[in-house]
Amino acid sequence: MAMRARHKIRAPRRGGTSAAKPESFDAIWSVLSSSLTEINTKNASTLAFEELYRHAYKIALMMRGEELHDKVKELEQQWLQNNVQKLITGSISSILVRTHNSLDAPDQSNERREAGEKFLAALKDAWEDHQLCMGMVTDVLMYMDRMVLASHTKPSIYVVCMALFRDHILRSSVRPGSELKVIEMLESTILFMIQLERSGHMIERPLIRHCIQMMEGLYETITEEESTKLYLTIFEPAFLDTSKDFYQAEGRRLLEIGDAATFCRMAIQRIVEEQERCQYTLAITTQPKILDLLDEHLIRTNIAEVVNLEGTGVRHMLDHNHLDALRDIYSLNARVDPKKEALAKAVNKRIVEMGKDINALSKQFPPTPAPSAKKDEKSDRKEKATDKQRPVNQQTESAIRWVDEILALKRKFDDVWEKAFLSDQGLESSIMGSFSDFINMNPRSSEFLSLFFDENLKKGIKGKTESEVDALLDNGITLLRYIKDKDLFETYYKKHLSRRLLMKRAASMDAERQMISKMKMEVGNQFTQRIEAMFKDMTISEDLSANYKDHVSKTGDPDQKPVDLEVNVLTSNMWPMDIMASTKEGTVQLPCIYPKEISSLIHSFERFYLGKHNGRKLSWQASMGTGDIRATFKRPNGKVQRYELNVSTYAMVILMLFNDTPDGEPLTYQEIQMRTQIPDHDLIRNLQSLAVAPKTRVLKKDPMSKNVQPADRFFFNHEFHSPFVKVRIGVVSGGANKVENTDQRKDTEQKMSEERGGTIEAAIVRIMKQRKNLMHQQLMTEVISQLNSRFVPDVHMIKRRIESLIDREYLERISEEPPTYGYIA
């Protein structure tokens, strides 16, 4: 380059006086060594950094840096051995040496502690001085260091000096000729201090922290790998070891105290303590290790025992609502087991126990008049009907109480779950599981729950706000979720619902609809299909009644006194017909003979209806109807009192018989029976309500007794008296929904199992149609999974159904090993 060529490059000049006289290595070293000693004795302020640096620089330039390196190392080693080491060993008092091996010697703990603190302080000072001086030395020798490092033959002087400290201070003997090393002394002293702190004493945390930092700053090898820190190789294992022993003993000690809440509190406190210790006294890297150890030895080994501690364990906490203690135990259990098995088990056990108590209570309560009930079963039906009335009502009550109690229990555990178990998902499902378990242990749970809904939809929701009703229904629905046999519930619900609808007992149609939509959300469309159909029938019937009224007024019925008719036309397969037709198997029920006014009305309606819908058959369910009659009572004083009576259809038919009977003449039971053809069962009940019930005694009975006998005679009671003009005469034990008696239960169960058989067959055929061929085991699992939302199918029943389908040639056996079926199209 032209520009550069013009200038000459001057040779570097040695500036200043030093350049003039070339110095020998030894001369420079003597200056340096005396200066380094000055540094060690903390007299550096008289030294000029630049001068020392320049000396080192010169030596490095002479290419004798490594020599200097060795010399410095030697010098520092001498210094440590001759001065520092004495200081340290001098600070170790004999008590420390004596008590070295024992972790706790309570009688001497104070002296030992003082001696230990002195020792630690001396060590800390020595270390800090060494660190500082070596820092300065390294700075001064930086130029040399750079050279040495570049040649890769030796480690940095700083590292070397640190290693010197390790070897000549920490690894020196405590006493001349003693096996005991300073580092072992250090370890045992710190462990002793920690032990003191664990037993509640205050200790000099920063001091220990400094010593720990020293061990963290020193390495086993010159390469200074993280894993070879003295802290990690020597102290931490020892610390963990003693901690393990300590916490094993601590666990035993706490268990012996025998109070679960205390155990949890102490354990949590220990965890916090250890965390703090790692933060302020030891190294933060130890925290996960010591916590693991704590989890393992203090918690995991003991948690099951703590949970089950007699009298103070989880059971006690649940019973006494000790949410704080439960929360503690939950957090402990969560530390060692993500599933929280021990806790879940205990909680589940308690739930099932409490649930069983509730179940037992609901069974226990009713049979207080048990002996009489037993006797009744043998005697005739009439007696049974009356005597069972009271217990049955009580049973209904207890069914509703059963539901209420379960809801209360559920609320309690929801509360516990939310507040103590931090809404833990796993525990939620296990709690739900145990609820489901005990609820399904009660074979009548479906019935009870339906009764609960019935009661609330009839009376319970009156005067409640919408949101209250909503919450109430939601509660019920939650229980429905637990019930496995949903089809059984459906049956009962339909039965109770039909009574509510037909007898107009439902308090609010809105609430009913709300209930259905809730069920639909919970269980599915299929489940509510029929129930919805029932509602549809009701609305259609309303229209129909209106249309018929219209029709009658237009055609001008020849009947002079038209009777208002309100009909409900029900689709027979949607409604639980069995509750209406009270026929027993084997007996053919003759239709009831209606008085002529009524029968002409019936004919008229049938003509009207069949004119609209061809090919349908109407069958009249008198047992479900009601009638309003205006009755005239002649009082002895000649006055006439009128009452409007609202009675069941049967009662209306009975009362109208007296229209054709001369005044004062009696009708016997048999006469009534013959002329009306009302089934015995219903007739007895209706006569009871007309002649026995004290407030609605429209008929007089002779003899005056509770039970109706075939030979009893009935008179029209002109003395009937009531404060109201409109009188509602309910049928004894007819209208209300209540717990079934044993016979009815058997009936329901039988019907249920028939229905289930059909459902199972349908499911089998559905599956096979799709799959064509399927192994037995697979078919079983598919059927069960398909039906699970409705009920838990019985395996034997499925097997029987498969057999029967094979017999009827829907399926065939393809092979025996393994058993496989094929679908026959």
């Binding site: 490059i9 001057r10 500036g15 020392l52 700075d139 130029y143």
Partner: protein, 101 residues
């Protein structure tokens, strides 16, 4: 006087030239940084005055110019080259090595 707090330091050449620079600017050099480090108990650290016995005023002036240049263009890309007289470059090289810059 607590020099470690003072904002400026003095660099002295072997022939007696004194250069006063902001502390942070001078500390671009590793050697000077160590020399002046607050925890260092050396006389430089205490007085805030560094005598560089190996450097002439001419070289030290250029060195100080570089310190300022460095400080000015810190954290920038595409900075203009500093003008270095060719006759000084060998000595500057040695100074840079010495000062660990």
């Amino acid at each position: 006087m607590d020099s470690s707090q003072s904002e400026y330091v003095t660099l002295v050449s072997c022939d007696g030239f004194e250069f006063i620079l902001p502390r942070s600017t001078a500390c671009v050099s590793g050697t000077i940084r160590r020399m002046l480090h607050p925890s260092s108990k050396f006389s430089e650290g205490i007085s805030g005055r560094c005598v560089l016995d190996d450097m002439t005023g001419v070289v030290l002036e250029k060195v100080c110019e570089y310190f300022c240049y460095n400080e000015k263009h810190k954290d920038q890309a595409n900075v203009p080259d500093m003008d270095i007289p060719p006759e000084l470059c060998l000595e500057l090289l040695m100074a840079a090595d010495y000062l660990d810059t």
